[in-house]
Amino acid sequence: MKLSEFAYLTIIFIVFSTIDLKVNAFLFDYLIISNFTYLFLCYLSFRNPQKINSFFGAYIGFMIDLHQNIFFGLHASLFTLTILIINYNYFRLRMFSALQITIAFSFFVGFFVGFKSILLATMNFQYLVVFLSFFFAFISYLLIPSIGKFLIQKTNI
């Protein structure tokens, strides 16, 4: 991956992270957590697993941890774990239809949200948040491929 692409993707992920923070401020009352950043990473990792490898996931994860001011390594761990799972099941996932991919990634989001909630809001963990976030992720992932294609159309990713 070129340095310019690396910087470009870093900026995009930081922007997505900011959007997530802003959107979550509105969705908090409805027990939903948006995860555009995570879904975008899933999309990229599935699109080009050679370039979006675990090192990149760790780097982006650490950046987002710093940006969101949460436990250092939380996003990094979950991102690398996600990339690891996608890499291990790449050829299985390739056989999935778009709907199945969307459902699979929505499950990933459910796990991601649940894990984050346990660590960050241990006393206020609610299964309803995980459940509703799954549906929100399902709807969100309908848009992510189009947005992702638009954003990386001038790169070689």
Partner: protein
Amino acid sequence: MARLPDKSSRFILISVFVFCSSFLFLDFRFNTFKPIQDFYNSSSIFIKVFSKQVIFSPIYNSASSIVNSRNIKEENEELKAELNYQLIKNYIVSNKSIVNRNIFFGEVDIEKINSVLIPSKVVSFDVNQYFCCDKHRIFLRPEIDDDVNSFKVLINSEGIIGQTIKINKNLFEAILLSDKDHIIPIQDENNFYCEAKGLGVPKKIFCDIDLTLGANSFEEDQKFLSSGLGGIFPKGVEIGNISEIKELSNREVRLIIELNADPLSSNFFGVLK
């Protein structure tokens, strides 16, 4: 064992995950990376504050000051227009006879000023031509949705300016009293009548008097009023004072009358229906 899409080994994938998880454990259990996060937070806050104070605030302030000054200017224009309108109304109140169109028509109720007055604004006024030449015309636009027909009286807060010539619904021309083609019937306080023509000089009209018709004495600063004859201008409205008396011959004098109303005093006029 599952096949991987690239050549990177499983060991790398898993070791990176373990490495990140150990970071998470250390930070979660011992706050090991708090200094790094504090440094990042303080740096980002410093950059935010610095960029806000040095870059964005000046730009925002200059942009908002431009918008504010534009708003203030528009507000000032509105207030000025309203003030001029009120001044014209005051003029009508203090010269009630102006709304009694002429001697042939009945009196109009002074309380209904708004129904007899069409506020209008200057669209084009060739000031150079006004000062240099004989043709003194103004193009105006009515401020309300009302037709302005020809032969209506145009006034401002100082008095009668001229009369209207309709062009279309949104535009009309006004011929000023000082235009050389304009004639207004006037009278003095001794009921001496004459037809004053525009002199082609700003704020000046003149009457040529045949002295053989009657012995009248004229003096400078003598007041002249509109006579209401002719059917356009109202009767008894002060037009101006004699500024100069020129002797044309033994039997004829020219009275040059300086008009009270100056068309340059404001851009806002009123048309009497």
